[in-house]
């Protein structure tokens, strides 16, 4: 479509309706993009939040090489050959990341590591990995976000800050929308926030509970005991910083609602106790089903990390931290997860896809990944500290803006993307498919002996 702009220049404009923003786990799929096809930029992102707008509007096609080895420009095939060679020669390679790419590309990753006998890990391990482990231990009553919109009359956020991390979560799914059995929106819901900080999120609360830092588990445990008929102890205030009456009132509200939901964030998974904190919360939600319908859900973050979880699970049986060095998938968080393998100086090659450990990881891990003991390969859409430190660096196009594909919303609902404009860079899918083929060829040539029996 061509339209006249203000100064009467004709610009070549395209409208993309119902586009999906992949910045946070909300995956809002109702965004209307206006694209300037000449300049290759998105000029408007109607209905997107502040994060979404900055995601769409800041995307420009940069003038930079597709592939580099040690900073020198090379062809894509040369870079892929070099990457495949490094991975096959390595004795303990790891593949990490995958949160900012589509499922179709993620699907290529586990087979690559299967062929070269490495470890595959996703950003889940430093996000809601502990919740995943807790899920394996206690299970979880859960739901899709539409159920919250339609039914929930009790909504709780625990240890998260959706106002800043998932800005449209309130309006689209959980607090204000008018649903089937919640025709009056927020008036039909009680919103409770539990956090140690008075964040922006606390502003929407009907009830804000400021917890003593690090006492999430204790409060959850008291509520669980309350489900079994144990009284809230009198020294409740000393234990968790909340008055006994407040906790009792909270418990009554949880018990007496019709459809209750708890969203929880990394305040639980990242603090002391980790998987036991989120496990206690899931167990509490399970216990509450004795009285009413109650569900819980981790408010998962970045892009398509939920998709990575799903893909790795269906291909290997385990959600993250999966090792193939003995010819079949093995799972043990803490042993095969990226932070550990790097901090313990074990990995001798690292393929980082669409994520940035050099900026976000703990210092000991960064020290190893940037050392010459570990050959670093990066596939990313943007320049990051990781791509700059990498031996082989490949630039790809951006999902959801330049390429289509599937992403999973935080509640495991898959959504197809509608790209806005094309990019001169290859897609992750294209690069990884080529790499998978190359690694497979090399592995057939290497002909390593395959194990056939269980060793332990």
């Amino acid at each position: 479509m061509s339209v006249a702009s203000k100064d009467n220049k004709i610009i070549n404009e395209k409208i993309v309706e119902n586009a999906t923003c992949t910045f946070c786990g909300c995956c809002c799929d109702d965004i209307t993009l206006t694209v300037d096809m000449d300049k290759k930029v998105i000029t408007k992102a109607k209905d997107a939040c502040v994060l979404g707008k900055s995601w769409f509007l800041n995307h420009v096609i940069e003038d930079k090489p597709i592939a580099r080895i040690d900073g020198k420009e090379v062809s894509l095939d040369e870079a892929i050959d070099e990457a495949a060679k490094i991975l096959m020669e390595a004795k303990f390679p790891i593949l990490y990341g995958m949160s900012d790419t589509i499922c179709e590309a993620q699907r290529q990753c586990a087979p690559i590591m299967d062929d070269c006998g490495g470890t595959i890990d996703t950003t889940t391990s430093v996000c809601h990995g502990p919740s995943g482990m807790a899920f394996q231990g206690v299970g979880e009553p859960t739901m899709t976000l539409g159920e919250v919109k339609n039914r929930a009359d009790f909504v709780m956020y625990w240890g998260g800050n959706p106002a800043e991390a998932h800005p449209r979560h309130f309006a689209r799914y959980a607090v204000t929308p008018e649903g089937m059995y919640t025709p009056n929106g927020k008036d039909d819901r009680t919103v409770v926030i539990v956090d140690v900080r008075h964040t922006k999120t606390a502003g929407v609360a009907d009830i804000f509970l400021q917890l003593k830092p690090g006492k999430d588990f204790e409060l959850l445990w008291m509520l669980r005991a309350a489900c079994k008929g144990v009284d809230i102890p009198n020294d409740c205030k000393d234990i968790c910083g909340l008055d006994k009456e407040v906790v009792e009132d909270l418990f009554q509200r949880m018990k007496n609602c019709t459809y209750g939901v708890i969203f929880f964030g990394m305040g639980l998974t990242m603090s002391r106790g980790r998987h036991f904190n989120s496990g206690a919360l899931m167990a509490l939600a399970t216990d509450l089903n004795e009285f009413t319908h109650f569900v819980a859900k981790p408010a998962r973050g970045h892009g398509n990390v939920t998709g990575a979880d799903n893909v790795v699970s269906w291909q290997t049986g385990y959600p993250f931290g999966v090792n193939f060095s003995r010819g079949h998938p093995r799972f043990n968080p803490g042993e095969f997860t990226t932070v550990d393998t790097l901090s313990r100086h074990e990995a001798d090659a690292a393929l980082i896809i669409a994520s940035d450990p050099v900026a976000n990881f703990p210092k000991p891990a960064i020290d190893h990944i940037t050392s010459d003991k570990c050959k670093l390969i990066s596939i990313d859409t943007k320049n990051t500290p990781t791509s700059e430190a990498a031996h082989v660096s490949i630039q790809t196009s951006t999902y959801g803006i330049n390429t289509g594909g599937t992403v999973y919303r935080m509640d495991d609902v898959p959504i197809s993307l509608r790209p806005a404009f094309d990019s001169p860079f290859p897609s992750d899918l294209e690069v990884l498919t080529k790499l998978r083929k190359k690694v497979n060829e090399l592995s057939k040539k290497a002909n390593r002996p395959y194990a056939t029996k269980k060793y332990i």
Binding site: N58, V126, R274, R344
Partner: protein, 130 residues
């Protein structure tokens, strides 16, 4: 002036916006080097908004700029910083058998270095408003 606080790194919208512009760009760097402390602690430590402080623990150290919060926003004794390279400098690689480094609630030393210039507030880009 030196004291101890417990650090609670986390996400913020500004950090998310900065991330999209590019991790090597100014805005992201500015956001991720801002340490939020409570009103009470600032008084105790004699800190004011825009002061440059060194924060450190047994893993590493980094220099950040202070932002003093209004009363009641943060519990006393705690400090907040958005995730980013500076906060990474203080994380331990220990994951307690979970794969997740303890990136909330580590004790840090805070030491005053010098007075700083007040930063411009990192507003979202113009085009993004409305």
């Amino acid at each position: 002036m030196k004291g101890q606080l417990i650090l609670l790194p986390g996400r913020s919208a500004k950090q998310g916006v900065g991330l999209n512009k590019g991790k090597l760009k100014e805005e992201y760097i500015r956001v991720t080097t801002t340490l939020e402390v409570s009103f009470e602690d600032a008084a105790e430590l004699g800190l004011e908004t825009a002061d440059i402080v060194k924060i450190s623990n047994h893993i590493g150290e980094t220099e950040v700029q202070v932002k003093v919060l209004r009363e009641g926003k943060l519990p006393v004794g705690y400090a907040f910083i958005p995730y980013g390279p500076p906060s990474s400098n203080l994380f331990d690689g220990e994951t307690c058998g979970t794969g997740m480094p303890a990136s909330k609630g580590m004790t840090i030393d805070v030491e005053f270095i010098k007075k700083g210039v007040k930063k411009k507030t990192a507003l979202p880009p113009k085009t993004a408003i409305g």
